[in-house]
């Protein structure tokens, strides 16, 4: 490994160090605040490191990794999300008295796992990244173990994630047997020579099962609602954003390397999965009275939309997908931020009636939640609309009409439940819940400010996307 290659890996090493630093801080019995601040600084350092090494990209570190523009964009998104989630975690866990320190070790390890997924070009690194992510998540989900549903959610995720890992390994083994390579490019070369065989397609199929599980696509979505509901809210936000961004980045790279879209069977499978996810997710969300479960089903639908951008397998699709993920993470994080701010020690603010008349009681966070819901619903002037617009535009160009029509019609169904939450926010009967007094004013205020900035970001992305688009394009050219 030469110097350039080492420097390209710098951000990931800093990320790995973050967990070690947190362990050391815990050993020295430092307080939650110190850990929080140091964690925040470490993440800033990762961003800085990414910025610092951008000139060295793209850089291949054979055989396991490739650090290119696409990986940088996804890593950037992941780090941005973990910065926000880390900030949200502070007030959430301080309210609950349980010892939150080890939480940060797990959080950073899981982030590292997701980041590794974005740069892996080999089955081994892929599997390591995925396991790092999953194993940390088992513990994170059940972190508040005294709470209702927490252990149930953790167990569910453990059993199903373990099974999906088994599927993944089996699929890798089959592909390895057929092609004799574990490196994506090696597989692609071999495929070009001999063409696809039934065994290879079977391996591909089982890998799709594992990915479908991670992304909570129908029909592998059964865990989503329970896990979203049972996990602590910051962890739910983590599952909904970082874990899925990492997995999608991995899927994208794998598909690009082996030219997945040239296999009609694979395209058909993905179309069916996308259509099923869009319809099922939106329909199941209709009757939810629990905001976290509602967001779980809505995220199933959203990843269905995302797959529509994935189907064409061209640059426009990739661009659309990345923009979509960016818009989606900002939006979802602000929604979860509001849930976290609303939650008190006694209960999680997840029931819809908690939000009745919030607009008249706490207008700022209600506005943030309203904007993020409108963005999820894809209403113009918000990021969600342009994200959906780019997907539609990528799809229309490639004439994948059926998924597009389903996208349009199912997002109309989706409107109904987003409007229901918005109706609750504006309802005239104000919920009687008292506003909890902030325990930590500094973090409380900074969470507030972050939320307002994020809402502004949603609108900014929705009105002036040029800068972001150009940024994504420049990074994508680095490969």
């Amino acid at each position: 490994m030469n110097e350039l290659q080492l420097s390209a890996l710098l951000p990931f090493m800093v990320l790995a160090m973050a967990s070690v630093v947190v362990i050391l801080l815990i050993a020295f019995r430092l307080s939650h605040t110190v850990i929080q601040v140091v964690g925040f600084l470490m993440m800033c350092l990762v961003v800085f490191a990414t910025w610092y090494v951008r000139g060295a990209l793209p850089q291949e570190i054979p055989p396991l990794f490739i650090v290119d523009g696409q990986a940088a964009v996804f890593t950037g998104l992941i780090i941005f999300s973990v910065l926000v989630i880390g900030l949200f975690s502070y007030i959430y866990f301080e309210e609950r008295e349980e010892n939150p320190k080890e939480y940060y070790i797990l959080l950073f390890l899981a982030t590292l796992g997701a980041a590794i997924l974005t740069i892996s070009q080999h089955f081994i690194s892929l599997f390591i990244g995925l396991e790092l992510l999953s194993v940390s998540l088992y513990a994170l989900i059940a972190y508040l173990r005294n709470r209702n549903n927490a252990v149930e959610a953790g167990m569910k995720y453990l059993v199903l994630a373990a099974m999906s890992s088994a599927f993944l390994l089996f699929g890798m083994a089959l592909i390895y047997m057929e092609t004799g390579s574990m490196k994506f490019s090696g597989i692609a070369e071999q495929l070009a020579k001999v063409g696809s065989t039934p065994l290879f397609l079977m391996g591909l199929g089982t890998i799709i099962v594992a990915i479908g599980f991670k992304l909570a696509l129908v029909p592998f979505h059964l865990w989503a609602a329970d896990v979203y509901q049972g996990s602590p809210s910051p962890v739910t936000a983590f599952i909904a954003t970082i874990s899925k961004i990492g997995t999608f980045a991995m899927l994208l790279r794998f598909a690009q390397s082996i030219h997945l879209q040239q296999y009609p069977l694979a395209v058909t499978i993905f179309s069916v999965i996308a259509i099923a996810s869009m319809i099922t997710g939106n329909i199941l969300a209709l009757q939810q009275r629990n905001l976290k479960r509602l967001l779980a089903y809505s995220s199933i639908a959203h990843f269905g939309y995302l797959l529509v951008a994935f189907l064409p397998g061209n640059d426009a699709g990739t661009e659309a997908a990345i923009f979509y993920l960016a818009a989606y993470s900002v939006t979802l994080l602000s929604a979860f931020g509001v849930i976290i701010l609303m939650s008190s020690r006694q209960h999680e603010a997840e029931e819809l009636h908690t939000y009745d008349g919030l607009m008249w009681k706490r207008p700022i966070i209600a506005t943030v939640l309203a904007i993020s819901l409108l963005s999820l619903a894809g209403i113009p002037l918000t990021a969600g609309f342009l994200a959906k617009f780019f997907i539609l535009s990528a799809g229309v160009h490639q004439a994948v009409w059926l998924p597009l029509i389903v996208l349009v019609l199912s997002s109309v169904i989706g409107l109904y439940y987003y409007l229901r939450v918005i109706n609750a926010l504006f309802s005239t009967t104000v919920s009687a819940e008292a506003i909890p007094k902030p325990v930590h004013p500094f973090f409380h205020i900074s969470t507030y400010i972050t939320l307002v900035i994020m809402a502004g970001l949603i609108c900014w992305l929705g009105i002036f996307p040029s800068l972001t688009l150009e940024g994504i394009r420049t990074f994508l050219l680095l490969h």
Binding site: W360, L374, I379, P380, L381, F385, F389, L392, S393, V396, H397, L404, I405, V408, L409, S411, V412, L415, Y416, L419, N423, F426, T428, F464, P465, S466, L469, E470, R473
Partner: protein, 489 residues
């Protein structure tokens, strides 16, 4: 540039009055009133540009700025006579909408005027946007504040009406978005220049089947908004449950965006397909005229009754547009204006009655003439207008439409004429039930106040003027015949 300022004034006015309402609700009302008045004055002043412009048929204000150049999306606004007339209508009804909510809205005043002004901003944006994406943005922006107006200040079934309104229109919008994208790529693949600009897209040669499908996407969106009969389901609920100003804006302006869309986009972009589908649309239009009139006759809820008369009147618009005849087209533009005024006036009156009697049920009204002679007199004027009596604007409009349509579709126009008879029947029934007959209310009811008199006087004067001197309006939209090859004298 002045056009952008007009929209910005509305947007800023909305935010200002929201903030100001925390201090005093009265201030919020005045800010809203002044903003819309300022816009009306600007629009009147723009007539001088129009007069000065040598070529009366073209776009005398045209402004384009970069927005998302990577995708060929620009901030392109332009105005011709047709847009100008519609903008005048928008701000005129906008002022009346502010005035008629003066007393009606008692809570959350600031947010109310915010929504009202933003809806108006969206509507005026629709009338001047010349970039398809900008158009789509404005199309959606007028929707969300309207939705809030319905669900927050509406009547008992407002939630239901709000959902229905939003979801119906959204289906159409998204299909239109797909069509816009398809058009964009068809044009881009042909010329190599990917752009959403209206003027560039105008000259896109298309395969007939492709054109048909793309046109259908647009047409469904506009047909839902207009509304054309099978898609009219949202309208009675939304109109019935919305607050007075909401109904006024819905009937007076929002429906007109559908007609505007067909004239501005469907006909010029897809001339051949539009001709091919014309008989079907005329059939729908005639069905709407008769069906709306029959349903209006059977309503007991005053606002729903007026809502169904809109369905009937919008049928004339559809018939006029698709008869591809210059006279009919002039009739359509007249109908857009006069229907906005007359139906708007009826809704305002329904709102005033509801304010006094706390009911919309015409079976519980009756004999109101004794206590409110002034309002009764004005009501007669507007029911006559709605029934299409000469001297009033609606007569010219419907007469022109029928005259124009008769050349190509004699049978259909004869059936459509029946609609005029039916309209007399339902109008007279409404008048008789509300103002004549047995008096049900014993407690004293106040006649109209000075503020209400101003509103009604403005509406009455304009409808009479339009009935007597329609020529200026007809002149400003003369050029519509040039946008479509089949439109000729």
């Amino acid at each position: 540039m002045i056009l952008i300022w007009m929209i910005c004034i509305l947007l800023a006015g909305g935010i200002l009055s929201w903030i100001a309402a925390r201090r005093s609700p009265l201030l919020a009302k005045w800010i809203a009133l002044l903003t819309v008045t300022a816009d009306l004055l600007i629009t009147c002043w723009l007539f001088s540009f129009y007069q000065a412009f040598p070529d009366k048929t073209s776009w005398y204000i045209n402004h384009q700025a970069n927005w998302i150049p990577a995708l060929g999306i620009s901030f392109h606004v332009a105005m011709d006579g047709f847009s100008h007339v519609l903008l005048l209508l928008t701000f005129f009804l906008g002022i009346l909408a502010v005035l008629c909510s003066w007393k009606e809205i008692k809570e959350k005043t600031g947010f109310y005027f915010f929504n009202l002004l933003w809806t108006l901003a969206g509507i005026s944006g629709v009338f001047i946007a010349m970039d398809m994406i900008l158009f789509y943005f404005c199309w959606e922006i007028m929707l969300i504040p309207m939705y809030f107006l319905i669900i927050l200040w509406g009547d008992a079934r407002r939630r239901y009406a709000g959902y229905k309104f939003f979801i119906f229109t959204q289906v159409g919008s998204l299909l239109m978005l797909l069509s816009i994208l398809a058009l964009y790529f068809v044009h881009g693949d042909q010329t190599g220049k990917y752009t959403f600009d209206y003027f560039s897209l105008l000259h896109t040669a298309m395969d007939a089947t492709v054109a048909k499908w793309i046109m259908l996407g647009f047409l469904i969106a506009f047909a839902i908004k207009l509304p054309v009969v099978p898609f009219h389901n949202w309208l009675p609920d939304a109109h019935g449950e919305a607050p007075t100003a909401g109904s006024l804006v819905l009937a007076g302006l929002l429906l007109k965006t559908g007609a505007y869309g067909i004239i501005r986009f469907v006909l010029p972009l897809f001339p051949e397909s539009a001709v091919a589908i014309a008989p079907v649309m005329i059939l729908f239009g005639v069905a709407g005229i008769i069906y709306g009139a029959l349903l209006a006759f059977s309503q007991t809820d005053l606002k729903r009754l007026i809502a169904y008369t809109s369905v009937s009147h919008m049928g004339f618009v559809l018939v006029g547009i698709f008869s591809f005849n210059n006279i009919a087209m002039q009739g359509v533009v007249m109908q857009i204006l006069t229907h906005g005024l007359s139906t708007g006036a009826l809704f305002v009156m329904a709102g005033m009655l509801k304010e006094r009697l706390h009911t919309r049920d015409i079976d519980r009204m009756g004999g109101m003439w004794t206590s409110m002679p002034a309002m009764g007199g004005i009501a007669i004027l507007f029911t006559m207008a709605s029934a299409g009596l000469p001297v009033l604007g609606n007569f010219i409009a419907e007469f022109f439409v029928l005259l124009g349509a008769f050349a190509n579709y004699p049978t259909f126009s004869i059936i459509a004429t029946l609609g005029l008879i039916l309209s007399a029947i339902y109008s007279l029934r409404m008048l008789q039930k509300v103002f004549m007959g047995q008096q049900h209310f014993t407690e004293p009811v106040k006649d109209i106040s000075a503020r209400e008199l101003v509103i009604m006087a403005a509406l009455s004067i304009s409808i009479v003027i339009l009935g007597l001197f329609p020529q200026p309006v007809i002149d400003t939209v003369q050029h519509l015949s040039t946008i479509h090859p089949l439109l000729h004298e």
